[in-house]
């Protein structure tokens, strides 16, 4: 706690921030979201490439939003309390965002890379080993241009 307070002092943050921080015990990650001009088509990509299941969709007059999660069945995916992946409508896929907003843990990165390509995505960098960690990283782009990253832990 002292270290954190010192960090705040360096940043010049106020007591109000510290009080507010203490109120944030009820915050958790609900989902990571990417955008697409064609939401339904991109949802199919995530279903096919990563074995995800659609767990909810919100159809608004001018936009569609699809929620996906992991599970052997739709029922299992709906019961999965883990953070979802959400696809939200955007007007255009022509964007310059190079940040990979989704990071996946995978157990077979070569198989995942093949699945991504087969489903219409693009591998922008073949899987490579990260330093001496034994972790293999792959970088890809989905069909709507969102960058995604895959991590494979060392196999023991």
């Amino acid at each position: 706690m002292i270290g954190i307070r010192n960090g705040f002092s360096r940043l010049g943050l106020t007591a109000a921030v510290l009080m507010a921080m203490n109120a944030q015990a009820g915050v958790t990650l609900n989902a990571a979201r990417v955008g697409a001009a064609d939401v339904a088509a991109l949802a199919k990509f995530y279903e096919v490439a990563f074995g995800m299941q659609e767990v909810q969709r919100i159809q608004m007059p001018a936009s569609l939003e699809v929620m996906l999660n992991f599970g052997d069945t739709v029922a299992a995916a709906k019961a999965n309390p883990g953070a979802q992946i959400v696809i939200l409508h955007r007007e255009s896929d022509a964007q310059q965002d190079s940040v990979a907003h989704l990071i996946f843990n995978v157990t077979d990165i070569q198989a995942t890379a093949a699945a991504i390509t087969a489903a219409g995505g693009t591998m922008e960098r073949a899987p490579f080993v990260f330093g001496n960690t034994g972790i293999t990283i792959g970088l890809a782009v989905d069909p709507a241009g969102n960058h995604i990253e895959m991590l494979q832990q060392p196999k023991h």
Binding site: L11, A20, M21, V27, R33, G51
Partner: protein
Amino acid sequence: MIGIGNLLTKRTAAWTAGLGASLLVALGAQAGVVLNAARVGAVDVAALAKFYEAAFGLQEVNRLELPGRLEIMLNFGDSVAAAKANTAPQIVIMHRDADDLKDSVPHMILNVTDLAATSAAITAAGGKIEGKPIPFGKTGMLIGFASDPVGNRLELIQQPH
């Protein structure tokens, strides 16, 4: 494992999408995929990490310092040790060269139990609240939108009490 019934559903979906047999083979290999993290970008990664710590009570659990770039991983927990032990997906902040992106997609959605308190914490830590919380139909849910100090949009969801 992907069940047979589910696989058939997948086959139908794949055929509908006009995809081939190779894809179906690849599909069967995807049982080992889970979400690791949601990531946002910032020119000043360390400063933005401090915002997420202050606004949401996140803890830094890892950092990668590479030549010319920094990446910080955060997670929820009452202590750094608890956050490091938290197996839920992390929030990762990665270096980018500019923060002036015109990206309207809120890439991160957070569950909150007290939307007003979280909104106050975001403002106090240097973020911005975008409008008033919106009731989502008749569900009792409240939805709020915010931006972090470098312009990444966030969505906040409060379930009915």
